[in-house]
Symmetry: C2
């Protein structure tokens, strides 16, 4: 297999794009593609301040790397969840993220749930009896809340996350199986509203395996392990199902996601304002929330008696 | 496992409904459920004339059986496709359908593609170079056309087909993967319009395996073989994928389909008039068609020089 660009030996063969590239041209291709999606979906400009949510995994560190290579003003935000799982998951991902930032002289903001709120994510899940032994719901809630808070408090225009195509396709699949109204919210860009920064997913059209190849070839040191709590999750199950479809018909995953975005653009769905409820302002943190009174995060913190609330 | 109704030995255990029944109560349960869906989706009344499209398979023969048991005025329509596939597929399904009707003194209309139009379905597919060696597109087109024609010409109010939940879920899955506008048309009932009879699917909430159990326990003699051309079809592949989901979580298939109907009812999608194009009348057969001029069926028949056109 030869590189389409230079005819040299190809390192990465993407059946889904009928494209093979050598390492050097692959490492150029990924940022070019990302830039194309940033422009296509009008995610942000060079004048805007971007906060990248970094977990220490391949996707978010690669995203940060790519945005810097493309010349965007991108700082990082690491949220310490206090997850050990017998592998020092949070300690190790923190160390790798810190090292990534230091080596490149980048600005990294750090939230530590235990230090800042008195409770790790697993402790919060246990104390609040949410999620049947799995802290995933509490974790998602807390991360969303903290990303929004830091972006607002530090004056960032945009919050960027490393969700790749496999992530987006799995969420889409899940929302489709239940025909949830969340279908209306799934977009590469969620515009700024109610004091929240714009949210963008610049990697939404890149396959998970493409991101792995990028991180490896680029020499990014990231945490290989999945979060220990992810094992057996529905998302992983849906990813496997979608991989079956993809193996049967290369490009199926991308087509599923892109045709969804097209159909939405072409008016298949009702306008979302008709279905999504009006938002209120949480008296605790000032973030928008769906019901009057404290938001879910502040209610949780009130329950566990966090020093912050 | 005991029958929920009588405490006797259960023959059929439906994990998806957490319900086990003995043969006798199962044979009562299926028509009860069907009647419930007929009423819920306002399919038809006892005063209306129903044409059941029967293929000789378990679903359509069972549907005809159930409608008769429930006291509806249901006649049959068998369309001879001229498919052999080394197993005399059409000959055998015709024989079984004819036998079913005769034994019960029911009225059966028969269309025979070769006799009435001069060409079997495989011959039509070959002559028109449609479908890359598979006659499925030509078959679907022809069956739709002939069902509509007989229903109109013989004055039936309603055309009923034996599509079961597995069929409906697979079509829904397929339309979802491509986010096709056909999503807007998928309903248990398609109202009468442009001179076409109302179309209904009274078995749309019954699992394929429930229909198999019904046909077997009721002693209906049906053709066991799938159509020889169905092998390797996308629909069968999607059915297998959905069965994986179902095995993982009993009821998943039904939930996928019912939540879709609910979401549609609740306005998730745009009103379909906005997206579906206006229909024209075919100058050949008088049936509605999406573009001006002859409909696809009449164009096909013109091309192969059918004696009927």
């Amino acid at each position: 297999m030869k590189c389409r660009k230079c005819g040299g030996k190809a390192t990465v063969n993407m059946r889904q794009h009928k494209l093979a590239l050598c390492s050097q041209h692959y490492l150029e291709w990924v940022p070019e593609q990302t830039e194309r999606f940033i422009k296509k979906y009008e995610m942000f400009s060079k004048n805007e301040k971007i906060l990248v949510a970094v977990s220490g995994g391949k996707d978010s560190l690669s995203l940060w790397d790519i945005l810097c290579r493309l010349g965007y003003q991108a700082d990082g935000l690491y949220i310490g969840l206090g997850i050990d799982g017998g592998i020092g998951y949070s300690t190790e991902s923190h160390r790798l993220t810190q090292q990534f930032a230091s080596e490149r002289g980048l600005t990294l903001h750090i939230v530590d749930m235990e230090r800042d709120y008195g409770h790790s994510i697993p402790a919060l899940a246990q104390a609040t009896h949410r999620g049947k032994g799995k802290p995933c719901a509490v974790c998602g809630l807390s991360k969303r809340h903290e990303m929004n808070r830091i972006a607002r408090d530090m004056g960032y225009d945009v919050l960027a996350t490393g969700h790749n195509l496999d992530d987006e396709a799995a969420v889409l699949f899940s929302n489709t199986l239940s025909w949830s109204d969340y279908l209306l919210r799934q977009e590469p860009v969620l515009p700024s509203s109610d004091g929240l920064a714009r949210k963008v997913k610049p990697l939404c059209r890149l396959y998970e395996k493409e991101m792995t190849a990028y991180a490896l070839l680029r020499g990014i040191k990231y945490i290989y392990e999945e979060c220990p709590f992810a094992e057996g999750s529905t998302t992983i199950y849906y990813k496997e199902l979608l991989n079956q479809l993809e193996n049967q018909r290369p490009g199926a995953k991308l087509s599923f996601y892109l045709k969804f975005l097209d159909a939405k653009q072409n008016g298949l769905f009702s306008p979302k304002d008709q279905l999504l409820s009006n938002l209120h302002t949480c008296p605790g943190c000032g973030q928008p929330t769906s019901a009057p009174g404290l938001c879910s995060f502040c209610r949780m913190m009130e329950k566990v008696g966090s020093p912050e609330i």
